[in-house]
């Protein structure tokens, strides 16, 4: 017997087996699907497509765009999450509804809205003045990723800050520390693991984003094709080998990220 949640009283064998069986069932199906894909592709082909330049171009594009957007979004989302966790906003429910909408809305709809927004007032003149091109270019990819994971990040960092009891700040204030000092020396270190886990989740979510890219950025091979988008493009153009090896690569990325989240052990709730 280990862990506070398991106990001999709860242990009735058939019931235990039934419940663990559902977990085993889902894991077995997931394993079967992965195995079927690997066998279908074959080791030889996997190796062949892995040595192709295109695969690695997509891979590096995915990696740096998603890391950059996760970093940018974290910078925006952590203060916003702290504000939502500690301060009382007027119309708080409506404010949170708008801030958390992009987590749950179809990413495809996010793409449609971004398409409209980029022709509207503040974005259009701004990008023109900066000489930045959003459609059919990587800055657009980063913008689309940021939109989705910013909202995700606010939710995750709010949860991380909710897990730090307010009494610590109270003590810190009563000992004479300022608000900024308290935040950086008390709250941030306490929420550290949760925030690291949020970062990894945001990064993995950014690396999986493609529906909004398809509508908003447009798919140009060799220019905007991050891995998930390249999977779709290659699937529709019949290059199944590329598509399959890239989707296995996506799976590896996702698994790596989630092992990191599990090791960090932050409260990785999507909604709580």
């Amino acid at each position: 017997m280990s862990g506070p949640w398991s106990s001999r009283v709860l242990k009735s064998h058939s019931w235990h087996a039934l419940l663990a069986g559902t977990v085993a069932c889902v894991v077995a199906v997931a394993l079967f699907i992965t195995l079927a894909n690997t066998l279908y592709l074959g080791w030889h082909d996997f190796y062949f497509y892995m040595t192709k330049m295109r695969t690695w171009l997509s891979f590096t594009n995915t990696l740096w765009t998603s890391l950059l957007s996760a970093f940018l979004s974290l910078l925006l989302a952590v203060p916003a999450g702290y504000a939502l966790s500690r301060h009382r906003f007027p119309f708080a429910d409506a404010v949170q509804t708008i801030l958390f909408l992009p987590v749950l809305i179809s990413p495809c709809a996010v793409g449609v809205f971004l398409l409209a927004c980029c022709r509207a007032i503040p974005v259009q003149p701004l990008t023109e003045a900066l000489g930045l091109r959003l459609d059919h270019a990587l800055p657009g990819v980063i913008l689309a990723q940021c939109t989705v994971i910013c909202s995700f990040g606010i939710l995750l960092s709010k949860t991380a800050f909710d897990g730090v009891a307010g009494k610590f700040e109270h003590v810190s204030h009563s000992l004479g520390a300022g608000e900024a000092g308290t935040f950086f020396r008390v709250v941030l270190p306490m929420a550290k693991n949760g925030l690291f886990a949020s970062f990894v989740l945001m990064w993995a979510r950014a690396a999986a984003e493609w529906e909004s890219l398809m509508i908003f950025v447009g798919a140009i091979q060799g220019r905007t094709d991050v891995l998930p988008l390249a999977v779709y493009l290659d699937f529709t153009s019949g290059r199944l080998g590329f598509a399959l090896s890239m989707s296995l690569l996506c799976l590896l990325l996702a698994m790596t990220g989630m092992v990191a989240v599990r090791l960090l052990g932050g409260r990785h709730h999507v909604w709580s």
Binding site: L10, T22, V26, H87, F113, C150, K167, H269
Partner: protein
Amino acid sequence: MCGREAAGFFPTIFGRRTWFASGVCAFAVLLLMAFAWLFISGSRLTSWEGFASLSRQPWFWRSVKLTLYTALATTALAAVLGVPAAYALSRFDFPGKKAAEVVFLSLLVLPASSVGLMLMVALQYPPVRLLQDSLHIRIVHSLPGVVVAQLVLALAFGVVAWRVAFDQIHPVYEHVGRTLGASSGRVFFNLTLPMAGKGILTGAILAFSRAMAEFGAVLILCSTFRFRDPGRFSAVSKFLGIDRADILAVAMWMEMEEGQMERGMALAFIMLGLTAVFVYVLIKMKKRAFHEYTGS
């Protein structure tokens, strides 16, 4: 609003007019304005005529029904699989538990295109193909396939929420139930499930909205149905009135691809409205759960 403010350390942002508090809130307000403008500026691409023309499309109401039915079926399946799984993950230690947790988590962040493609290959793999042939069913490119494609993400979102719901119930209640002579199953159904009711509902709403929003996996696994030969739909789907229709997300993409911006944008606003209702309900439920928990 979460409980920290209820404790009264930061009553309002105006109560403590420090630079730091204002700066932190400025981030939230900035992001709020950005998201609000993102959604408002969408109205430039559509008009009431867009909504009217959408509702006149013969496929539109069938699509609404199809989205509703498939999302409901997906949620039901996800609950049947996910609630016991979440309970097991929350309460028991078993070999390979950590690996199982990683699998459930990574479903959350798998790209939908990858999910669709991998499901496609696995469902066409010889043993599975033979099984489908012998049962005279076909999942790829059919309406049941929509449910299969939606299930992956819906299950991932649901299990996370359900696990939190069970984690919040102290097992001492179950111990008491067991010592009073109830079986493990009876304790689960008569005690744990009712106590976790709100959390289960939260997970179900999450799973439903995620199923409704799913696009990529459905597009790859099932393609589109709107222009397909009517003879290829089963009698059941015709009876339910969901034949020759696409789920709303796929329909929106098709409208955008065909250059029907007004109708595509109108569909985007419909999905936005539905999701906003779900998010608002989730926030309200969480707030009430917190107040019940603290007795405030």
